[in-house]
């Protein structure tokens, strides 16, 4: 694997680390299987691309993308909490609707940003080669996000979110408004995912309406790889696991692309990913079953 390919994988892994952290918040912290991310990732890309094209500051464009993602999450939460639609189904409904929304936002299926100024533009040409600048920049943002999410989950407010996912009945008995926690958690999760989408568009030069397909699976795979490597040893370790899991997932794809040593092709990765996620979904149930017996 070449240096450029390696750092390219790291960069993409870091972009998808936002997805992994978002998925960790919903699947692991809130115990809410949220597929909205397949729509909020391209939503983030679409919003940021359209705003940048129309001359908005790229940082502001990314911020607006996060707000759009949060709103998408709130819709899923509303369908589930207010209208009692099964969580998985509620998120699928939002995801499907977002496909049309994303087309509306962009006005066409693909918006190019190749020649536009992005958040990264000021850092190119400062002596460091582009393929280092990108992962470094995205990595710093990831670091920032990890610290914020970690401090939040270890605060009183975050503790009540964790309790909501772990034991909603107990949380209510402790005065936690569990519905509000679901709104908040899913909004934060999708805001992070949309930021991932915004960064994808800015680092790769385009927003494409199809870029959301399988986002949830990639995010889950990253969470699982992290958990497998580091075990369940506290919030910070879990978050770092998400980030490293996401990077390792991309390096695995890169290896499959760059060599035939494993006998793997890019086309086999869907199967490998599906297998990983299946294990991810079964494992907690097996553990719970073991604890209950």
């Amino acid at each position: 694997m070449s240096l450029i390919a390696f750092w390219g994988a790291v960069e993409l892994g870091l972009v998808y680390a936002f997805v992994a952290i978002g998925v960790y918040l919903t699947f692991r912290v809130l115990d809410f299987p949220d597929l909205t991310v397949d729509g909020s990732f391209p939503l983030g890309a679409a919003v940021t691309a359209v705003l940048i094209i129309s001359g908005v500051n790229p940082w502001l464009a990314a911020t607006v993308a996060m707000i759009a993602g949060a709103i998408a999450g709130l819709v899923t939460a509303l369908l589930n909490v207010r209208f009692r639609i099964l969580n998985l189904l509620a998120s699928i409904l939002t995801m499907i609707a977002l496909f049309s929304v994303n087309l509306r936002v962009m006005g066409k299926p693909n918006v190019a940003l190749i020649n536009a100024d992005t958040m990264l533009s000021p850092f190119f040409g400062l002596g460091l080669r582009d393929f280092y600048v990108r992962p470094l920049f995205v990595g710093l943002l990831v670091l920032f996000a990890v610290v914020l999410v970690w401090r939040f989950l270890e605060s009183d407010a975050g503790l009540s979110m964790r309790a909501t996912g772990a034991n909603a009945r107990m949380a209510r008995a402790q005065g936690v408004d569990t519905n509000r926690q679901i709104y908040l958690g899913i909004a934060i999760s999708n805001a992070l995912v949309a930021l991932g989408g915004a960064l994808f568009a800015q680092t790769n030069g385009f927003a494409d309406v199809t870029s959301g397909v399988g986002t949830i699976v990639v995010g889950l795979a990253a969470v699982i790889i992290g958990e497998t490597l580091f075990g369940a040893r506290g919030i910070l370790i879990a978050l770092i696991g998400c980030v490293l899991g996401s990077i390792l997932y991309r390096i695995a794809i890169q290896l499959a692309l760059s060599s035939d040593i494993l006998g793997l092709k890019a086309s086999d990765l869907n199967f490998v990913t599906a297998l990983l996620v299946t294990v991810a979904l079964i494992l907690p149930r097996l553990r719970r079953g073991g604890a209950a017996s």
Binding site: R151, E154, R172, G175
Partner: protein, 264 residues
């Protein structure tokens, strides 16, 4: 102080499974009083507890806890007034959180939860002290996950959790039913100690007639959604477990007769 007046609860209203769980229950518990509640399955004990906790919203009637009318408030909204220990040790605490995290969660019961760290050094020390009082050796395991503890240990921690934040009432929902006799004894002794030290207004639902008479100041028996016995003071002192069993038999006989009439 707790005051419920003419509470009626109907489940599944208008469906074939409609059930009148409480049928005009009125009960006033004075500040600092410890009331035990017994009754056969389906008598309405759990529903009464649910009405007080907020899990069940009464179809008719009024519920006052302390000075406030909480009739329409949900569980979370009235949690600041109600401390509670569940029957199932798994329900009362979060298995995936550590002991100290569970305590931190309980310490803020009914308060606004902000963004400050949930476990600072001062809080940690305070929690360790409270857990050490249990003499279960758990103070050295504050960072262990709750699901590593035995059922009895979890109930003991749950009792501590119930008293970390102030409350107007303590609800105990058959909280020793899932434990072995030795542990049940330990938890009851601990309960007695906590309730008397803190002069808590307490309502304890129990399956054990022994417990119902041995603990507290007053015993209430429910049957078919109504209060059929309410004794305190001297008349309660004279009451024996055998008397309660006899009353139970009589009640059950009545139901049988009723059923026989229905079928006939």
């Amino acid at each position: 102080m707790i005051s419920v007046s003419d509470i009626k609860v109907v489940f599944g209203k208008g469906t074939p499974l409609q059930k009148q769980a409480l049928n005009g229950v009125s009960l006033t518990i004075e500040e600092g009083q410890f009331v035990t509640v017994i009754g056969s399955n389906g008598a309405g004990k759990s529903t009464l507890l649910g009405v007080l906790a907020g899990d069940v919203i009464a179809t008719e009637g009024q519920v006052r806890i302390g000075t406030a009318d909480v009739t329409r408030q949900g569980t979370a909204a009235r949690a600041g007034r109600v401390a509670r220990v569940f029957q199932d040790p798994l329900t009362g605490s979060c298995g995936s959180l550590s002991i100290e995290e569970n305590l931190a969660l309980a310490a803020r019961r009914g308060e606004r939860r902000g963004l400050s760290a949930s476990l600072g050094p001062r809080r940690r020390a305070h929690f360790r002290e409270r857990i050490a009082e249990l003499n279960l050796g758990l103070e050295s395991r504050m960072r262990d996950r709750m699901d590593l503890l035995s059922g009895g240990q979890r109930q003991a921690v749950s009792l501590v959790m119930a008293t970390l934040a102030g409350s107007d009432v303590l609800l105990l929902d058959e909280h020793t039913a899932a434990l072995d006799p030795g542990m049940a004894e330990f938890i009851m002794t601990l309960t007695q100690k906590i309730v008397s030290e803190r002069k808590l207004t307490t309502l304890m639902v129990t399956h054990s007639m022994r417990q119902a008479l041995d603990y507290g100041h007053r015993t209430v028996m429910l049957h078919a959604g109504e209060i059929v016995l309410d004794v305190a003071g001297d008349s309660r002192k004279d009451l024996q477990v055998e008397d309660l069993i006899a009353m139970f038999r009589k009640m059950r006989g009545q139901t049988l007769d009723d059923d026989a009439l229905l079928i006939g």
